[in-house]
């Protein structure tokens, strides 16, 4: 009986330590793997020309180009879209009323407060989640490759969903948009 503190430590401490030490034995890969549509043979256009076409095609879809490198033929871009009306989905304890809103608890921590005013029904507008997509395209000499991921982030900055999104539909549309773009238009 005199040793119960040590027993308690073993029971409570070991799971904690196991949680701290969980780590993969190899560098993970995306699941599912990128679609075959996300890799195609490069046409005769120069690397710079294909980069310009990629940037224009991505910007037309609402992406913002974050980085480019003409040596590797890289275009890195991202798109953030607010999912209107999603505030209640990722903040289930939020309650609104005619005169404002109140909330408590939640996944990320504790918050409290009172707001007073008409139009309380709009309380969740500023709490909508954001869908963040990140894309990289590399226009190498022989092949063009695309990879993409997608994250769902709530108003607190907490990530609710994170996945690879190098799917056939997105890559096909990007490739077709690039190929439909005349080279002279892209370089103008």
């Amino acid at each position: 009986m005199r040793h119960w503190p040590l027993s308690l430590l073993l029971v409570l401490g070991l799971p904690v330590l196991a949680g701290c030490q969980t780590s993969p034995s190899v560098l993970p890969v995306a699941e599912p793997a990128p679609s075959a549509e996300c890799r195609w043979s490069s046409d005769t256009a120069s690397v710079r020309d294909r980069m310009r076409r990629a940037m224009e095609a991505l910007e037309a879809e609402g992406f913002t180009v974050r980085d480019t490198d003409p040596v590797l033929g890289l275009v890195s871009a991202e798109r953030a879209r607010i999912l209107h009306g999603s505030g209640d989905l990722y903040d289930p304890w939020e309650r609104t009323s005619l005169f404002g809103g109140y909330g408590f608890g939640g996944r990320g921590g504790f918050s409290s407060g009172i707001s007073v005013g008409l139009g309380g029904g709009y309380g969740s507008v500023s709490r909508d989640a954001t869908r963040l997509e990140r894309v990289s395209l590399v226009a190498a000499a022989e092949e063009t490759r695309v990879s993409r991921d997608s994250q769902l982030i709530d108003w607190r900055g907490e990530v609710h969903e994170t996945r690879s999104a190098s799917d056939a539909d997105f890559c096909r549309r990007l490739r077709e948009a690039m190929q439909a773009m005349p080279a002279e238009e892209a370089s103008s």
């Binding site: 780590s23 190899v26 990128p34 974050r66 980085d67 590797l72 590399v138 695309v146 990879s147 991921d149």
Partner: protein, 122 residues
Amino acid sequence: MKRHLWVLTAVLMSLWLSGCATTAPPAEPRELIFETPPELTLETAVALLMERGYVIRHADGELGRVEAVLARWPGYNVQLSVQGEDDTSRVSVSATRGGRPLAPQTLDPLLVDLRSRLGLFL
């Protein structure tokens, strides 16, 4: 005796908790030298990462540096550097998982694949 056990308990618990809360040290890189031109090595490494679903966030072909991310919880980040000249490439790779460094040996399969892709065999 009972008092000593309490002190021991407090010390051990403090050590365990501080181990979980400390700031993560920088990721230790895995380094290898390949007998291939640095440009080819870098281009091949980027293709390999993209085939595995990694998104290239930043790259500088002249400096031989690449940063890639993988959207699998809790988030993976890979830093790749290729230096060298002529037919010699000095490859350095490090990675973090959720901001914490991954053990260097977890990068060995990637480097073995890179070596194979470059036509070099063990």
